[in-house]
Symmetry: C2
Subunit: 277 residues, 2 copies
Amino acid sequence: MRALKPEDITQSVIQSFADTPDPRLREIMVSLVRHLHAFAQEVKLTEAEWFAGIDFLTRCGHITDDKRQEFILLSDTLGLSMLTVALNQNKPAGCTEATVFGPFHVDGAPQVERGGDVAQGARGTPCLVRGRVLGLKGEPIAGALLDVWQSDEEGLYDVQRPDLGHAQARAVVQADEHGRFDFRSIVAVPYAIPHDGPVGQMLKATARHPWRPAHLHFMVQAPGYETLITHVFRADSAYLDSDAVFGVRPSLVCDWRQQDDGSYLLEFDFVLNPQAA
Amino acid sequence: MRALKPEDITQSVIQSFADTPDPRLREIMVSLVRHLHAFAQEVKLTEAEWFAGIDFLTRCGHITDDKRQEFILLSDTLGLSMLTVALNQNKPAGCTEATVFGPFHVDGAPQVERGGDVAQGARGTPCLVRGRVLGLKGEPIAGALLDVWQSDEEGLYDVQRPDLGHAQARAVVQADEHGRFDFRSIVAVPYAIPHDGPVGQMLKATARHPWRPAHLHFMVQAPGYETLITHVFRADSAYLDSDAVFGVRPSLVCDWRQQDDGSYLLEFDFVLNPQAA
């Protein structure tokens, strides 16, 4: 422990985790320290840069509250969130792919009946959304629950409007006995992730933009199946090739078809993976 | 950017930093992303573990204020602080080694005259501290300023006593024209770093203790010389071989000699590195 060389310091820290009772926690801590130290050594981190990192994390912590999650934004914009999703997808071909959860989901959204209005006053061009929840053989999954959430035409989620006082463009809908769901909402538009904080400063300093392509969030749950967290993206959206959070998967990009009356129709079927027995 | 495999996601994120104007920032971000992703991929990070990490950082941020710095504690206990210090030491042999800054330094500590009392009521066994500030050829550095700070006999720094209202065991002292300094304080004792927060939970979960061996902090500054941030450790202290923050360097361990009256005497000379021309 009376370490002298950088390599000796790293070895001392790794050794300090030797008695960790949980082998998985030990594996994670040792790998984390090895990669963290390799990073610092590779760039020969200066003390001023180290302090800038401490200050950055401190500001992320202080801007984070029950409505704003800067650490998830940071993970999203560094691609760690999407990487974690990808590392945990071992699903058979044919299942709907997952993507990032994002920081705007809220537990306990209001339940909306079939055909009902999810927008609840959120401004935007009307959009009808319908589809089915299916198993791998095309069998309907009766009664599946779909959490849906999206931003309004100004690119804001309801939780970003502190004076709103009720859920907008956010609901739980339920598939019927044939696995079918449909609801009314508004058409999704591209929006900028919150960039008035430390993560926004990082994006600006690295000449990156904060925009996400237009998408609608889904979390689909049914007994006996793995929960699916995903988006459906608009094929005609800007930023599909430069999503600030790296969430686009080609299989999730879909035509949202404009109707004669100017409104939109989105049709999308979800295929869930059965839970391991 | 419409990435599919984990490797493609990592490549997309690295690519997103291509236009960073500052080449040093680009180098740091690319290296950080590469190592962060390599860590996640190596341990095959699960989504629950990812969320535990987000939650851990959030709690670090929320416990951090102007008196408590959990991110520095985290960096210290993961050895990143000491590694950064070591990476930035390119000093000739003979210079006093640096060690971690720690989270308890305060700018603007009261100035104490030569021979004066730094303790200011902090409880502990009296200790006289004296020595010289020198250049590499043994030349005295007249008027060098020494920030000194330490915990009291209960292992607490003054800033950890919210009701105190004044500085204790913390001062700025100045070397005379011969580079000599001396002041009265209390003898350092081992203490536990703050472990009632997320970092303490990490230490507990990994069966590590939160203790640091007895030491006195110094920051030594003089025009024309590199600022030295270091400690002097007690040779008879517990935890020299398991410092919770990996800060011990053999050259900084020194006999603090007990005198006939029970008080202690610490004698230590600091050798500063001249600033590059």
